[in-house]
Assembly symmetry: none
């Protein structure tokens, strides 16, 4: 039996113990956006540092202006080096009443078809995914006494809350962190049977604005129509943001957005993708984006504007004839190709200001931003990783686009000059960011085996 086979056998033999470790970390309520959970974030960081140290990494949970960042090195062998990134923080869990179980009490469920799923907040995003890599390292160390290549593990605790500490951290520690290739496990498979490496990522601009009209809440019977209503102002701005054809109306928004390369478009059109099934899975049927674009284009290669939150006035039961003093909205733009996040943020602010009456005020809160990215799929590391995934899953791994933004990918590319292999084992129905998040047990187990293979392949 060669080394890789022994490692895979070790992973199979220790599957229950790996699951126990994942459950332990899923019980930690590391909600990064809510200051009430700061101690849990710290506890989660310390758990990971201890765990990585236990398998031979030089591991530290390092303080930042926000939540700790874990850096762990195992450079006992020579060869091309890898930097693995994951995040130990999770999304908030509201609305709580929609969870069918305690979000932080992980459990293994068997579905009617016999497949098993791990249920908990963070099971897929990203604790379950990041632990696939850690468990692969553990098996290599146990079987071979060393990793196939030098590895640094970098775990962040602010991915779900703007990631403010990471850029400065990467810059300050660039020499220590730079490696020949980046590895991230925070993406999806193509489908439950088909692995995929995401090689295009959209960028992001997150922006919140708050409109203040009168200096107090008013009675709409007395002030209605005479006094500016910030709900109307916000609704108007949000409505103006897209035209009847679904195009974003910000001036200059489409600068740097070419049509897709015809060869790539042909490849995408040939993918086994059914837009009706994609939308049907969440109870919808009508693509809501730009007219004349395919759903894959909408979600992979076209920029978007989405209102992620809006609110103003009385939202409780019953009715209150109030004109609120304030109303607000949170808007995100997904960027593609060469769109400039800074220019788009400025264009949006100008767009909003132009629609706020002269006697009202508007303030802006910046919530992260980053450019879109494309990786060179003909570089050797990408081919090796694809072949390793193909071997594990018995199905040709795909190079795909993707709709989400993974800001750290952009930072690794920009600050450290690294290409990143985005190989993840999430599935579309994982309900990440929603109540009842899950991660397939198969994703977890074969994800560990996949990383064991990729580490091996990269050493060749």
């Amino acid at each position: 039996m060669d080394k890789l086979d022994a490692v895979l056998a070790c992973i199979d033999a220790n599957a229950d113990a790996a699951l126990e470790r994942l459950f332990a970390v899923l019980r930690i309520k590391s909600i990064s956006t809510d200051p009430a959970y700061a101690a849990e974030c710290k506890a989660c960081a310390e758990w990971h540092a201890r765990d990585l140290a236990s398998i031979g990494f030089e591991a530290e949970a390092r303080a930042t202006p926000g939540h700790p960042i874990i850096v762990a090195h195992d450079r006992s062998v020579a060869g091309p080096s890898a930097l693995f990134y994951g995040h130990y923080d999770v999304q908030p869990v509201d609305p709580l009443e929609l969870w069918e179980h305690d979000a932080f009490e992980p459990k293994l469920d068997t579905r009617p078809d016999g497949t098993k799923v791990i249920r908990a907040r963070g099971s897929a995003d990203d604790k379950g995914q990041l632990m696939t890599f850690v468990e692969a390292c553990r098996a290599w160390k146990e079987v071979a006494g060393a990793l196939p290549i030098p590895v640094t593990v970098l775990l962040e605790g602010e991915e779900e809350s703007g990631g403010r500490s990471l850029p400065g951290f990467l810059e300050a520690n660039a020499a220590e962190l730079k490696a020949d290739v980046g590895l991230i496990c925070d993406t999806n498979m193509w489908d439950p049977a088909t692995p995929a490496i995401q090689t295009m990522l959209r960028g992001l601009v997150g922006e919140e604005f708050i409109v203040t009209a009168a200096d107090r809440d008013l009675h709409s019977g007395f002030y209605g129509s005479a006094a500016a209503n910030p709900n109307h102002i916000v609704a108007r701005i949000l409505a103006d943001l897209r035209d009847a054809d679904g195009r974003v109306t910000l001036p200059g928004f489409y600068d740097g957005v070419p049509e897709l390369d015809p060869a790539l478009k042909a490849q995408w059109d040939a993918l086994p993708f059914d837009p009706r099934a994609f939308l049907g899975a969440v109870g919808l049927s009508v693509p809501a984006g730009e007219k004349g674009r395919s759903v894959l284009e909408m979600t992979w290669s076209r920029p978007t504007a989405e209102v992620n939150g809006m609110g103003g006035g009385y939202q409780g039961d019953g009715f209150k004839t109030v004109i609120p003093s304030k109303a607000s909205a949170k808007v995100s733009f997904r960027l593609v190709f060469d769109q400039d996040p800074h220019k788009i943020r400025e264009a949006f602010r100008a767009f909003v200001r132009a629609r706020v009456p002269s006697d009202c005020k508007v303030e802006f809160l910046e919530h992260g931003g980053g450019r879109a990215i494309r990786f060179p799929i003909d570089a050797p590391a990408f081919g090796k990783a694809r072949d390793a995934l193909t071997a594990e899953w018995g199905r040709e791994a795909l190079f795909i686009g993707g709709g989400g933004s993974i800001p750290v990918t952009h930072m690794l590319k920009t600050s450290l000059g690294m290409d990143v292999i985005l190989a993840g084992f999430g599935l579309e129905d994982d309900r990440i960011h929603s109540p009842n998040e899950k991660y397939d047990l198969k994703s977890f187990h074969k994800g560990i085996r996949s990383w064991a293979r990729i580490l091996h392949a990269l050493s060749k």
Copy 2:
């Protein structure tokens, strides 16, 4: 000294005792919306019944499905009869920390300019106002042994909590309650020196709608632009509701809305009203309603559409790249002249449905409705009341419009066919429904004298 002069002298002589009685009723925590205060509401009703009985009314606190309704008759004389309506319940007092004193421990404060104010929850809305009428009756009985006209007093305990018991009560007791004219003391003066009778009331349609798109919250990175976003749909509907000139765009909305009678418009234009001061008092300066209309028209004689609440998606601190499953809004329309609440509700629902994509759902919640009302200002009773107010305050009493709805006024008009004289002594800075509610001592004292004069005038 004629009888009226003697009554006015009696009111002046007994001013302190009247204030003591008001303080006694202000100490009762008759918060109708909170079941925890049901016993206090009952105690308050019984206090009023006893008090009215003590001055010779046949008074009863009658049980209802909600809080008791007091009916008190004094029909010992002949002549045109009056039904006086007031409410003994009060608004909740939260947020408690904003009160500068105990909300239910009334006190008399002297302001820097030497004027005195009564501070307590309910001092203006409506205990202080309703007691002006009761004290006027007391003085007439004490001085003349009888009221100038037959009077029925009707005091409700659910005005601040939906008033569910009153419509059925009015219908069931229509014959007993019907009078030649209605009297209500629950409105404001024009300004602290100028009395007013409100003769136009706008109607109301309250409506809530909830748009459901996907059957769960989605990640905007994966589904953005492909999946319908209910925030966009709701924002579009709300934005479409008014055009660039501030007009409501619902088809047929302005049916039954004539231009204001030129004579009345001229009278309003001549009123000492400064729109800049009106808006400036709440930190605004630009009238937000229909272009080409005065602020008084906007708030008195033109119909409006106001978004009282809207919400969807993540509204907490930080950012969540979510596409919510649902978003909603609460909208109220103020109606004037002959607008039909039913037709407008239906037009609004059709307007909303036309803007909800075929794969999304919308549901509606009805939140009350009623027609606008105008009273015949050339009817003799209105002229008599105006002259009585003019005599007391030494300043011509005004017939004014008003933006708010007073549901009981509509009921008295619709169920009992009665015109209602709305004469009140509240002031704009009374902070009704807010912390630190007050009622000017001058409003209380001259309010009592005003009703003494109006009762006398109506008997002539």
